[in-house]
């Protein structure tokens, strides 16, 4: 399949000799340049295959690289390197190195779903970006990022907290992990209205799914299963 190469120079370098004489004619200027490495090697086509075989990543093949996702992207304004179209392009080519170079950007998706919503080809872009990121994590190509740490923290809290999340517990866990700083002023503004309205008492009540222990076992068993889009 022909792959458009638009964002990365395929000319790795130029050899320019001081003096070249061929058949008695001296070459100089541009005639004296030799390009090296006209093609980029090291593509791994299995990246596309593997991502297209996951439930989230199956729509990656429908992308026609129009860039609608990237033009409206929330994160793009904050991080010029962030671009769903680029991630999809690199993943389909199997340019692992290119993706690894973007590891400080790729986790930053805020899941605002503008890309998925607007894609004219029905690519679930937000899901595909997470599928690409998950591929990198699964193969140990990138180090863990704050987003993934928080996702895992969230899931852990749900599992250990009787199937429900509690903002206080999640907030406390995040503060403990050093993800967010809470000053005394924040604490006062937070707890004041909660105490005044009696909401605080509600929040402290243990809230739990009845049969959670059993459900938890089933979920843990299900997590081992490989999910395919079929």
């Amino acid at each position: 399949m022909p792959i458009p190469e638009l964002e990365k120079s395929i000319i790795k370098g130029v050899i320019q000799k001081d003096k070249v004489v061929i058949d008695g004619i001296e070459l100089d200027g541009t005639w004296n340049s030799f390009m090296i490495e006209r093609t980029q090697t090291g593509y791994d086509p299995s990246v596309w295959d593997e991502i297209a075989n996951t439930l989230e990543g199956v729509t990656i093949s429908a992308c026609w690289q129009c860039g609608t996702c990237t033009s409206g992207c929330t994160m793009r304004e904050y991080d010029p390197k962030y671009g769903p179209r680029r991630f999809i392009d690199l993943a389909r080519k199997g340019d692992k190195q290119g993706l690894i170079e973007l590891q400080n950007s790729i986790w930053r998706c805020v899941s605002c779903q503008k890309c998925t919503h607007r894609c004219p080809k029905g690519v679930l872009v937000e899901e595909v970006v997470h599928a690409i990121h998950n591929y990198l994590l699964r193969h140990g190509l990138v180090s863990t990022d704050p987003g993934t740490v928080f996702d895992e923290l969230f899931f852990e809290t749900v599992m250990n907290n009787g199937g429900r999340i509690s903002e206080l517990m999640l907030g406390a866990a995040s503060v403990k992990k050093g993800m967010v700083k809470m000053g005394l002023k924040d604490l006062i503004t937070m707890t004041g209205p909660l105490l005044r309205s009696g909401l605080f008492k509600e929040l402290m009540k243990p809230s739990k799914v009845k049969n959670w222990e059993k459900i938890r076992e089933v979920i843990e068993e299900a997590m081992k299963e490989e999910v395919r889009p079929e």
Binding site: L55, E56, T74, Y78, R108, V110, S111, C112, Q113, K114, T116, H117, G122, L124, E126, N134, D145, P146, G147, V149, F150, D151, E152, F154, F155, V158, R164, I165, S166, E167, L168, G171, M179, V180, D186, T189, M190, G192, P193, L194, R196, S197, L199, E202, L203, S207, V209, N211, W212, K214, I215, I219, E221, A222, M223, E225, V227, R228, P229, E230
Partner: protein, 305 residues
Amino acid sequence: MSAQVPYGKVALYPGCALDGMAKQYEVSLALVAKDLGLTYERLDDYNCCGALEVKNVNTMAGLLLPARNLALARKIGADAIMSACPGCHYSLSRAQYYLSKYPKLREKVNAYLEKMGEIKYDLQLMTIHVNEFLYNSVGIEVIKSKVKRPLTGLKVAPYYGCLYTRPKPYTLTGYLRLKDDPERPVFMDKLLEALGAEVVPFEAKTMCCGGPHVYSDPDVSINLEARILKEARRNGAEILVVDCPLGGVAIESNMNKIAERYGEDLRMPVVYFTQLMAFAFGHSPEEAMLTANLTNPMSVLKRYL
């Protein structure tokens, strides 16, 4: 009570938010629904919908959590499952999408649901949001007739959040008449106008608040939230009306930091739209739990008492 046009029997999926810091949302929703003669059944044994986080950790867990809630709603014979939190609405709709699209996956999920002791999910639910429910079930004229405390002259900016209308493959906005416009939603605007409030032009209606990264990428989310408030302030709004507990709580709890970094004039009270409706329907601020909000909505609402 007879089945409601157009949704039939409605199950309320509270989600963790309504049992947590957005308790006032549910309390005020109950008041409003009672006044309007609308009924729904609360799913008491619900579990977390997985939000935007669990799906990134594990695919199967990200589907089983919402699927169990869908099965619970079918167990009580509901035709529609209503969420107050757009995050839950998104998550349940997402599960619905994947389970309808992939039959083998559905079989697997159903097998696990049976192992948990739940019924199989038969895909017969419509996923709806409170906003759509209130707008479509009774009509604007009925809402107008219930107003005892018209909020004339109150300038409001309605903030819908990202996930109320997006993405269309899951929430079906733009495909169904009962659903809002995907890019420029208006249902909440109409509800607020019916209360007598003045809805200011507000382009940040569906702008992201950085919710999922409020802890992991705080600078970005604080800036995003400041942008929403700035847009509201620029258009002359006095109060930000939200239908999203994720955004509401994030904006409220970051308000000090926003004011510190981007200016004191961005400080603005945040209120759930059902609270405002309950207040306009004549309920006291205590009943509508307007005192529970971290920012103080009564500072602008007290002139209507």
